[in-house]
Amino acid sequence: MELVCLGLNHRSAPVEVRERFAIPPTRLGEKARELIDAPGIEESVVLSTCNRTEFYLAGESGEEAIRALRQMVDTGGNEHWYEKHRIDAARHLCQVAGGLDSMVLGETEIFGQVKDAYRRAHAAGATSGVLNRLFQRAFGVGKKVRTETTIQEGATSVAGSAVELAEKIFGRLKGCRVIVIGAGEMSRQTAQALVSRGASTVFVTNRSFERAEALADEMGGRAVRYDDWQATLAGVDVVISSTAAPHAVVKPFHVEAVRRVRKFRPLFLIDIAVPRDIDPEVGDIDEVYLYDIDTLEQLAAEARGRREQQIEQCAQIIDAELVKLNLPGT
């Protein structure tokens, strides 16, 4: 019995190729079942996400299994596809489950996607001794990588960094009120990230009221006329500013004017505009925490750097676990 993997991912293939081979989650089990009907393939699991499509196969001969798969899937040339055999295929699966092969290093969503792919193949009767043992071990490895290293720690995007900081200031974001000044894409992403973590009320203001309304609708928030945003400042915890204004929009006197009404509660200001929207002197006010785009990007870059430093440790965990597995076919 030999284990093989044939696949393509975000590194080997552009999106227009990946989308051609993408398989909807609901069809993964059925596809895996179809594959084991082919000669030379005894077990199979099909994994398909927006960044990868991979076929994990077990058969008497790896070459024969790959040949049968290529005929069924019509993979065309070899240009975008990678083949992994035996222990390399097992190692690759562990790397995928641990988020080491993901576009965002250490992301955890892939773990659930691998689990789902296996569950569907198993339910369709497409797995047996080799792949059952391999996938169970890969899930164990994925968990171990997450608990014994810091591969998933720290946000790797500007929006993620802003959310982490907001949680450091306010704890749970449930009940947090946010105002978005300027309805651009970056502010939308950041506000959306805050809402997804529990922020309850979003006010949106923009020079064009229609754009403010559109973004407010999208996020279940409320549009505020641009001339009225200062009055809203008294009731919010987070300000996200991203206008195209060539000068500062939020100045110290805006915050000074509402400090007493706010009872000096902490206020988190996120300035993702260039040129900056928030006068840096606002950050000198005691209860204000001011972060601009450079600082947030730097935080995200540091987190990515820290994750990369963990790769070696993750590789050691994977190798140690695979030695313990001693799987036939590897």
């Binding site: 810091t150 720690e153 900081l165 949680e167 450091k168 200031i169 306010f170 704890g171 007493r260 706010r262 009872k263 000096f264 509660r265 902490p266 950050g283 005691d286 209860e287 925490y289 972060y291 600082t295 935080l299 540091e302």
Partner: protein, 258 residues
């Protein structure tokens, strides 16, 4: 019970708190927090109980008769309130920050001469005096913990303001809002107990205690102002925390002399 035994309890308790603090700090340097700190502090708490029980037996009264006893009682009430508040509000690192305070209080108590080596047995007790002493020191335990959580806030606030966010300490400190809320609640709790202590002080037989009671009233008024202003007018987190720490240190020094 022998004299050495209660000092043994105190020594063990101090060592356990010191180890708890050191283990917690070491874990922080490696970027995570030690969940064992609460266990070390619980051990220190048992040692404190052992010491205070024997000392109380020797006195035949609540052991709050000399500076050493007051310090240990204060450390005990701080630890007691930490053990309630820390896990309840999930205030990580509160133990790591509290342990040094406990070690300092008990370390001073262990300095020769601070604890009366031959405590006199109290012949007659005044229930109001004991209530005054016990409630005041318990209140001070809560106020000490409020000061500890304020120090934690000041550290976090500085890191957030200066964008120094890479340390293990930063990652493990509780959020700003939780520190401020717990600090304010602890201040209320301490002030409420202080109120009972001051009222009991006026009801006790007060020969020669006029200066002490006057100081107690001044401290009570100062804390009343702080909790009142923080609650009803609002204070910035930094100002609130600085005042909480300052008031605790000043009032503690005042009581060292009167």
């Amino acid at each position: 019970m022998g004299r050495g035994v209660h000092l043994g309890y105190l020594l063990i308790s101090t060592l356990l708190a010191a180890i708890g603090g050191a283990v917690g700090m070491r874990a922080l340097r490696h970027g995570h927090r030690s969940r064992a700190t609460v266990l070390w502090m619980a051990g220190a708490f048992l040692g404190q109980i052992g010491f205070l029980a024997i000392r109380g037996e020797m006195r035949g009264a609540c052991p709050l008769m000399d500076t050493g006893e007051v310090l240990v009682f204060l450390a005990w009430s701080l630890t007691l309130i930490y053990l309630f508040v820390g896990p309840t509000y999930r205030l990580s690192l509160l133990g790591v920050f509290s342990a040094p305070v406990v070690v300092v209080f008990q370390g001073i108590a262990l300095v020769p001469g601070v604890l009366d080596p031959n405590p006199e047995r109290v012949l007659s007790t005044d229930a109001w005096r004991e209530t005054h002493a016990a409630m005041s020191v318990l209140g001070y335990g809560a106020l000490a913990l409020a000061a500890v959580s304020s120090v934690m806030f000041l550290v976090l606030d500085r890191q957030l303001k200066e964008h120094h966010l890479g340390s293990g300490l930063f990652r493990n400190l509780p959020p700003v809002r939780e520190l401020l809320v717990s600090g304010r609640r602890l201040l209320w709790l301490g002030w409420a107990m202080l109120t009972v202590g001051v009222v009991a002080g006026f009801l006790m037989k007060s020969e020669g205690a006029a200066a002490h009671l006057a100081a107690a009233v001044v401290v009570w008024v100062a804390y009343a102002l702080l909790v009142g202003v923080a609650q009803f007018r609002g204070l910035t987190g930094r100002r609130f925390s600085l005042l909480t720490v300052l008031l605790f240190l000043v009032s503690l020094s005042v009581f060292a002399f009167v």
